[in-house]
Symmetry: C2
Subunit: 489 residues, 2 copies
């Protein structure tokens, strides 16, 4: 990997903005088809929302995206292709939940001790969500039957009308904040259903064994983008903060402090809000711009506490702790595969993140460790290491796990998500179909933009005077990457 | 007024970003207290969401903000101070409405011919909204009783449960789109109530005589910022696109292509989304940044058709046309005070704007003129001039009339709206209390930031070694505007 200052001005067939999984996947696909690519990354690291933390001894844990399941076929395939394998998430022993201050130990998906009425209520609601979710097509949620009804209300409103008990409502609010990093009031009911269906189901989204949290990657999910980038040494340019994208005739120029890359096409593979913060020339059409104003990132921080060993396991605890009102909504045992050292990861999401992000770092640490100690015993309050990753503060991410839709968005601006603007194409997990919002969605979107560009190149070659359709996947002009007439609406 | 290139590098007590009413008001207040100010405006004109169009003969009409009422005391006061007077909006004769394709002529607020059930339904709903609105304090809507209930649902959901007839729902959807430039599904119920209460009431918001549309400004509302700017010839700098704001010790530097202004404090007086698109160093805290991701601008275009005379008046028509499904939600007679020439302004808002912005300019013109001709007769289809202002496409506005809150925003991020970040203070109509979202809100916010800075300057002087509290309003350091120790959390 090179730094952008090594070669501040360059030309390529395609310039890709953002070296997360989406940008890396697009770059790999294009390169394999013989195209020249520059992949510009603002930070001094690749991976975007996948980021690692070293535990020493060559071991590392994830400060960002981490889990996958049996239905996560695209990210599993990508991992295999770079030699990253997976292992089972630790899921033995008792789970703990704190519901409005009361503690329940349990196994299975729901804590049955919260009472038969609440359990029955929760059960029927999850079934309803599951059924509704299947009506929302991941390749176009706005095409769902009753799309307006699903998109015009918040998930909070739906819960008000479809849950009878306060306990079940509190539990569902908690798992929503853990899974979506947003409160039920923030979310369009359609987004809840869409993400659930694209992921493999609502219950699947919440489960460990039998769910999307079933596996973790050996060495961490962040090692996948690192290994992808290692195979793209000439393409990836670090430290390249793209501030401007200009379309001029049949070329596009992406530039930022100290660099400029000229290409035939651009792929913007950053979160929706951040795509809106780039200055475009000509300015983006209002319809696309309004989308970027309306799809915020969830609120998430991740706090890791490292211990000599996962001592809670011998006490018969799985390490899974959920809480309706504590400093985190869920915590998991995220120790390496061999169980050494012991690692607890607290997911500070939704309302918990909004609260904690306004505290000092010391206050946050104290709050998280106190809650871990309350659940796992006093040893949990004294880790050998503690690290926090505040995704809200990261200038080039600005929230996690993904950009969500408030009510009224998909049915009105959804069609702007993937529609190219001139020579600019859009990637990123929010534009994915398979597992939108997760790692798989990023891979899916990276493949899609590559296909879009292959198709455009073929059309452009046909349109050239005396031109013929070449091999699909062959770049437009090998000698001069920005040559050749263009004819697009 | 000068262009930023006249003096690309300068220093001042305060740098203000955005020469709309908010920035101009702040600049005026600060200047009157003896402070030095640079007011940086991206465009080659001042006024932001107030913009004029010349009709010849020294007459002009508004392409942006236009109306005010008896409760609009702050904008009226500002207008008086620069010698701009008002006149009554034309409001005689019959109004027309197209409800789901059917045409009704009427006088008063509601078309009584839509049927007694619908009228009664609408009446009780408006009363309920009015009562609820008064519970939402304009200086902190999150402090309303039942704040969560009001903020966690869309206005659409509220309408589903509080209106019995489809006709009344359609009518209320239409007036919501006309008044808020957003669909009921986009809007937090709390935002609907907050804007209504800050404006003077929900019914007041919809009315002409007796409402916020009662008056218009002679020469246009846009002449107010023009006259304010004319009195700030050394402060206003046009063509200054601020892309970066750096805080360094006790100073702040605002810069963009070709210029840099160093000051003690900065005031950012642009719409919330656009404030989020500036690059800050250090990066803004996540809590503030997430606000800027979540408060989009409404969707609005304004189309003006100019005729030799307002011929509809002699036909007994007021010129007010509302429509649930046409290319505009409302149109008004916006002829100059003397009625010459005749001008119709069509407000293409909410769902209408989303539809029209994706058509070609010719298609838009045809759609608007066809609808005007359908209502006012064939003469309306042949104006001597036609002009459209697409606020969605304007790079330095990106929507109108104001930034609105989706559900869950005010109760979670509302407190970030006015909270300064280090040496940066926030203005703009969305941060106003009096008439938030209208011209008055902009004036209110401009005055507030000036007061905030006067107070900080007084504190800093006290904190200086051997310092004393000076006159309120006196700048911190007269000789060197960026000198003096700073002591803020």
């Amino acid at each position: 990997m090179r730094h952008v200052t090594d070669e501040p001005n360059s030309e390529a067939d395609v310039v890709v903005v953002g070296a997360g999984l989406a940008g890396l996947t697009a770059t790999r696909e294009l390169k394999e088809a013989g195209w020249s690519v520059r992949l510009l990354e603002a930070r001094e690291r690749v991976g975007g929302r996948l980021k690692g933390y070293s535990l020493g001894d060559g071991k590392a844990v994830d400060l960002g995206g981490e889990y996958y399941g049996d239905k996560s076929t695209m990210i599993a395939e990508t991992a295999r292709s770079v030699g990253v394998s997976g292992f089972d998430t630790y899921d033995q022993g008792e789970r703990l939940t704190y519901l409005n201050g009361r503690r329940y130990g349990y196994t299975g998906l729901f804590p049955w001790r919260m009472g038969p009425a609440a359990i029955a209520d929760l059960g029927q609601a999850v079934l309803k969500i599951e059924r509704l979710a299947r009506t929302v097509p991941p390749d176009g949620p706005w095409n769902a039957p009753n799309a307006e009804r699903l998109d015009n209300q918040t998930f909070w409103s739906w819960m008000q009308h479809n849950l009878a008990t306060g306990t079940a409502r509190a539990f569902l609010t908690m798992v929503t904040e853990a899974a979506y990093c947003a409160s039920p009031a923030d979310l369009s009911l359609m987004h809840v259903l869409y993400y659930a269906n694209a992921s493999g189901g609502f219950r699947y989204l919440l489960e460990i064994s039998g769910g999307i949290q079933r596996y973790r990657f050996d060495g961490g999910a962040h090692s996948i983008p690192q290994k992808l980038a290692a195979k793209l040494p000439d393409e990836v340019r670090l430290g390249a903060v793209v501030r401007r994208i200009e379309q001029r005739g049949d070329s596009v120029v992406a530039s930022g402090p100290g660099f400029s890359v000229r290409a035939r096409w651009a792929v913007v593979a950053v979160p929706i809000t951040l795509a809106g913060r780039i200055a475009y020339e000509p300015a983006l059409p209002g319809y696309r711009d309004q989308l970027t104003q309306r799809m915020p990132a969830g609120a998430a921080m991740k706090c890791l506490a490292v211990y000599d060993e996962p001592f809670w396991r011998s006490a018969g605890l799985s390490g899974q702790i959920t809480s309706t009102d504590g400093p985190f909504r869920v915590a998991f045992d995220t120790s390496p595969a061999d169980g050494s050292p012991g690692v607890m990861s607290a997911f500070v999401t939704g309302s918990a993140a909004r609260k904690l992000t306004r505290l000092t770092q010391t206050e946050r640490r104290t709050a998280v460790l106190d809650a871990l100690a309350r659940a796992l015993g006093p040893r949990a309050g004294k880790p050998r290491d503690f690290v926090e990753q505040n995704w809200l503060d990261e200038e080039f991410t600005r929230g996690c796990y993904h950009g969500f839709a408030p009510p009224g968005l998909y049915t009105t601006y959804g069609q702007a998500l993937r529609a190219p603007i001139g020579r600019i194409h859009w990637a990123g997990t929010e534009t994915g179909v398979h597992q939108m919002g997760s790692m798989g969605g990023a891979v899916d979107s990276g493949r899609r933009v590559a296909r879009e560009l292959f198709a455009r190149a073929a059309i452009e070659r046909k349109d050239e005077p005396g031109g013929e359709a070449g091999e699909p996947g062959a770049p437009g002009g090998a000698a001069d990457p920005v040559a050749g007439p263009v004819n697009h609406g």
